[in-house]
Symmetry: C2
Subunit: 217 residues, 2 copies
């Protein structure tokens, strides 16, 4: 449908904005112990691709492939969710590396962002396992599947909201760290980087609101 | 019900935590142009009371007063929502004052937090007006009320989520401003103030998740 197309565009906009922020304004990407601050830059990009963009697309799979066999859209749904988990895992590896390789090292898991973000990824992993066990094998009876279904959808949406909250806090953290530790960036003067930051957040909120609107009807 | 009691306790915990953070760790409260940084301290407290705690209680009114007349619980629901709007308005006045009275003044509405936060309050005001027009007068036909009802609930929950996202970003902002501009606070070492900050965020998320769970069944 038309709305799904709009959602794709908003999602792609979010991915492009976060890539421009990290790639252009924050010095680009690198991997490995020599340049932890550039390894960090993979974190926002991969988390937005995994926990926001692919997550949303996987949920919408049933709406896009309405006319194909259920087995097929089930495979697409499960597979995109695996892709999302992989991106998220690499995104987490990037930020933990960037803390551990920094001189001096930065402690891990101190912030509200990191607590809620890690909780979201762990719950997401559990949701994937539960969905796989319940729907991918013919393991559950039809009655049991029917009972589990509303919980599958409720938690699917709840975890997406938690991930969105984590992403908004992460954006705020990176914006203020840059504000405090970089001479040339004054967030309160809203330079072009500030606009990229704010519209990244707006795009994520609009995207998730539309996805939830579509799923709840 | 028991769950509503748990929700009350979590909500009160959030209010106490934000009051302790501002009142004890951030130097307490004051009003007026002489002390903008202490006027700021009202902002987080009033926004959490208004946009999170009272907002949640107003939504739950129909669940608590199940056995009384519908007219009565409708008045309670609408009245608590007015209270919530008043607290939010004063909370916004406090933060705008704190920016305008600061020397030098701090620009208004530059951050993602302020954009999404202000959007949440404006949508909340519109929601209040729509609810009032639709349900407080006998103005709409029963059929029109029935048509509007699901939208009233969907937007009520959506705006609560947006307010929660704004609150989490606000908490993150204040934590990092303090981290950058105060000598004695190192967020990454998780001192007691850091624990208060993180558990405030956890309490808000648990509160809102429980409220939405109750409303969607
Ligand atoms: C849903 C998406 C996200 C999740 C699940 C997530 C998760 C995490 C976790 C678990 C950490 C802690 C790493 C450690 O302690 O070594 C972290 C750190 C960090 N993240 Fe994210 N993140 C997400 C999105 C973002 C985004 C979009 C940004 C920025 C644009 C961001 C910025 C940061 C920053 C600055 C840190 C380092 C400071 C800290 O530990 O809080 N994050 N993230
Ligand atoms: C973290 C991973 C997952 C999340 C967040 C998630 C989320 C969701 C959501 C939100 C829906 C509702 C979609 C709609 O109504 O259009 C849904 C439907 C569904 N999911 Fe998942 N899911 C996950 C993993 C899985 C897995 C691994 C399977 C099994 C292969 C699965 C099987 C299903 C099925 C069969 C439906 C029902 C579609 C329908 O009849 O409308 N899910 N999922
Ligand atoms: C839903 C609740 C909230 C809403 C709607 C909200 C709204 C706003 C708005 C509109 C501004 C801009 C004021 C200006 O530009 O002069 C602002 C600023 C601010 N708020 Fe909030 N706020 C909320 C909760 C919080 C909380 C809980 C905290 C901290 C614990 C907080 C911390 C801040 C800070 C530090 C600023 C100044 C920096 C900035 O302009 O972003 N806010 N808030
Ligand atoms: C910003 C203000 C408002 C918000 C966020 C809001 C939100 C909500 C929510 C989430 C529900 C569902 C509650 C449940 O199912 O237990 C609800 C129900 C309702 N609200 Fe509001 N509301 C607002 C203002 C109003 C006003 C001003 C009125 C009119 C006096 C009103 C009348 C009603 C009615 C009649 C119900 C139906 C209760 C039922 O039959 O279960 N609301 N509202
Ligand atoms: O509490 C605040 O901290 C910052 C700034 O004053 C830091 O110096 C800001 O904009 C506030 O409102």
């Amino acid at each position: 449908t038309f709305l799904v197309l709009v959602i794709q565009c908003v999602g792609l906009t979010a991915v492009i904005l976060v890539a421009v922020w990290m790639g252009h304004y924050r010095g680009g990407f690198d991997w490995g112990p020599d340049n932890p601050s550039k390894e960090f830059n993979y974190h926002p990009v991969f988390m937005v691709i995994g926990m926001i963009f692919l997550y949303s697309d996987a949920i919408l799979a049933y709406r896009v492939f309405r006319n194909v066999k259920k087995t097929y859209s089930k495979v697409v749904h499960g597979a995109i969710h695996i892709g999302a988990l992989l991106f998220s895992a690499v995104g987490l590896k990037a930020v933990f590396d960037s803390h551990n390789y920094a001189k001096p090292p930065i402690p891990n898991l101190y912030s509200l962002h990191s607590w809620l973000g890690l909780a979201a990824v762990i719950l997401y992993g559990i949701q994937w396992l539960s969905g796989f066990v319940a729907f991918a094998f013919p393991s559950l009876s039809l009655g049991a599947k029917k009972l589990y279904m509303p919980h599958h959808v409720f938690w699917g949406v709840a975890i997406l909201c938690l991930a969105t909250g984590a992403a908004l806090m992460g954006i705020t953290e990176k914006a203020l760290f840059t504000n405090c530790f970089t001479k040339n960036f004054h967030y309160s003067a809203l330079p072009s980087e500030g606009l990229v930051i704010n519209f990244l957040g707006v795009a994520i909120v609009v995207l998730v609101a539309l996805v939830i609107y579509v799923v709840t009807r």
